[in-house]
């Protein structure tokens, strides 16, 4: 009895320890880097909360940074490097999105990495910038950031466009070039394994079911077994056409530009997508 109590105590302590360490990890995962001090303390707190919860929901890192100095870099390079240096992003592909508000160049830039490249095609990034930049022009930086988060969530929920292709800037025009990849959903292996498992269990059950049915012996006769050959006479055959229905669907032919995600390679060697606009 006493032993059991100790075990329970140890388990509780372990759980508590895990919980605390999880909390500290979450606290350490800062999402907002407001170097240009564009947000008030309350705005920053609320944005921090929103980005953390959005990151969890879409399973991609969401980062918002502001800066007064571009260190001589373009917005694109600055955003990509900041993302790479800080090791943002989830998973092996460093899935995530970064919003840069660059006050030196008065430019807003969205950088995508990993899975986010597929979600945020060039056209979608343009649409997002359309939503964000009016707020920035008016100096409502936090609203601009909120518009970014809203439109990001909207597009992730929409899913990856069916015709999405990824085109690296080094793309030469040859579709077999490795810098040109047509998106194919790479399911995580456990999900794929689960689907395979369900199908194979179904096949197994089906095969055993058929075997069990055959165990009894099958009826080996059919209509022709006892039919006097040549006795079957068709006396009357009528095929009357009564109705015709024609339906049509429009095929989506402009599969070109809308699904393209242009990517480039950052100084750190990582592949990023993105786009920016002056405000």
């Amino acid at each position: 009895m006493k032993k059991r109590k100790y075990t329970l105590l140890i388990v509780i302590m372990l759980l508590a320890g895990l919980f605390i360490s999880a909390l500290t990890v979450m606290a350490a995962a800062q999402k907002i880097y407001d170097e240009a001090e564009l947000f008030s303390a309350s705005e920053k707190g609320s944005l921090e909360k929103q980005t953390v919860s959005l990151s969890e929901r879409i399973n991609m890192d969401v980062i918002i940074i502001t800066t007064n100095e571009n260190d001589g870099k373009t917005s694109s390079a600055y955003a990509d490097d900041f993302y790479d240096m800080n090791g943002f992003g989830y998973g092996d592909e460093a899935d995530g999105v970064l919003l840069l508000i660059n006050m030196e160049d008065r430019e807003v830039y969205i950088s995508t990495c990993g899975k986010a490249i597929h979600y945020l095609t060039d056209r979608r990034i343009e649409n997002m910038l359309d939503k964000i930049y009016p707020h920035l022009s008016e100096g409502n930086y936090s609203e601009g950031a909120a518009a970014f988060l809203n439109s990001l969530e909207y597009y992730v929920k929409e899913g990856i466009p069916a015709n999405q292709v990824t085109k690296d800037e080094s793309f030469t025009g040859n579709p077999s070039d490795p810098s040109y990849t047509v998106y194919r959903e790479t399911e995580n292996p456990s999900k794929k394994a689960l689907i395979c498992l369900v199908i194979s269990l179904g096949i197994g059950a089906g095969v055993v079911g058929v075997m069990a049915a055959h165990n009894k012996g099958r009826i080996g006769t059919n209509a022709n077994t006892y039919l006097d050959p040549r006795s079957f006479k068709l006396l009357h055959a009528e095929d009357r056409h009564v109705n015709t229905k024609i339906t049509h669907v429009t095929i989506n032919t402009n599969s070109g530009g809308s699904g393209t995600s242009s990517t480039h390679t950052s100084s750190g060697g990582a592949s990023h997508g993105g786009g920016g606009r002056k405000f």
Partner: protein, 352 residues
């Protein structure tokens, strides 16, 4: 009432039909007799029998549980009232009860056995070995309780039918023009009517046998059918019918219904899909023939349960439920699933 045992004219020993030789053989003096010889023998015996005909008729009314005396040893042979051929329990000589094979109970045709007792057992064990879900110890540890060659009474129905079917059919065609994909569905009302003749649809006329089991034994090869002679029954068991030709008619009708539906449906071709609205088959002429068909009945005792199998005594086709081994089922299930999983995961990775 008398009992017939065919006796060898050479030595007086009992004659039994031999399925391998397709003739009658005396097991004592090893003489062989063909059909004509045995018929002559029968006539001789019938003459003898008519002497006590009056006595027979009186006995026929006595009871359902009938008793006969064995002509070889004089012991009483007790059977139920549907038995037409059996063995004497004491001297094991074949005994035929002609009272159950005469008048309306006289079969017009018979198909003789082609599988001997040993061949039947061998075929059965071979069949068991091919069943993957059967415990390996079934044939070794189980006990063959009963193996008997039985002539089962069957009604063979010849039916001339008229059938009519109405159905809805559709044809679907798709094509692309410009940026539109068109789907055209054409609907048709289809009517088919025809006549057909079915010959020899069997229905067993014995309450004792399971209808479904008997249906699984089909088909019998009617080309080997012979005119009935009691001599074929010698050495086997035989039953007389206790389900009349009118009582099996519903079963025949149901089969006719299915067959005509299939025949007519097969004439509706050239459509993407067909759905039958209704189908009627009318039997305008039918005739039933009473025949005896050979079956081997196996009764196995396995782990305290009794399993019954039937084998077509002419073709060797076997029917019956084997015990399913749960362990082997689980093994197969896991094996097949595992192989399917590997194939899907490795090869199918391209598709999923």
């Amino acid at each position: 009432m008398s009992v017939i045992t065919y006796q060898c004219p050479n030595c007086g020993g009992p004659l039994g039909f031999n399925a391998d030789l397709q003739s009658w053989k005396c097991e004592f003096c090893l003489s062989d007799f063909d059909e004509d010889a045995v018929r002559a023998l029968k006539e001789e015996q019938e003459e003898h029998r008519s002497e006590n005909a009056a006595e027979e008729e009186r006995a026929e009314f006595e009871s359902n549980a009938r008793s006969y005396s064995c002509p070889s040893c004089g012991a009483e042979i007790v059977t139920d009232d549907t038995t037409a051929a059996t063995f004497c329990y004491y001297c094991h000589n074949p005994a035929i009860l002609p009272g159950n094979l005469s008048g309306t109970y006289r079969p017009s045709k018979v198909i003789p056995f082609t599988f001997e007792r040993a061949a039947a057992t061998e075929a059965f064990i071979k069949w068991c070995k091919k069943k993957p879900l059967l415990s390996k110890d079934f044939t070794s540890s189980s006990q063959l309780e009963l193996l008997s060659g039985v002539y089962i009474p069957f009604w063979l129905y010849d039916c001339d039918i008229r059938g009519k079917m109405s159905a809805s059919a559709r044809n679907i065609r798709t094509w692309t023009s410009g940026d539109k994909r068109y789907t055209e569905t054409k609907y048709y009302d289809v009517v088919r009517a025809g006549t057909a003749k079915f010959r020899g649809i069997p229905a067993d006329g014995s309450k004792k046998t399971d209808d479904r089991l008997m249906e699984t034994l089909e088909p019998y090869d009617y080309s080997q059918m012979r005119d009935f002679s009691m001599s074929y029954l010698s050495g086997y068991l035989a039953e007389k019918y206790d389900v009349g030709e009118n009582e099996v008619y519903d079963r025949i009708k149901e089969r006719i219904q299915n067959y005509s539906r299939r025949l007519l449906e097969d004439t509706i071709t050239g459509y993407s899909s067909v759905s039958v609205n209704n189908c009627l088959a009318d039997i305008y002429q039918s005739r039933a023939t009473y025949v005896l068909l050979p079956t081997w009945m196996f009764t196995y005792n396995y782990k305290g349960k009794t399993y019954v199998f039937a084998m077509n005594g002419q073709t060797g086709k076997i029917a019956g439920s084997l015990p399913l081994s749960k362990a082997r089922m689980a093994l197969w299930f896991m094996g097949v699933s595992a192989v399917a999983f590997i194939i899907l995961f490795v090869v199918g990775g391209i598709f999923i």
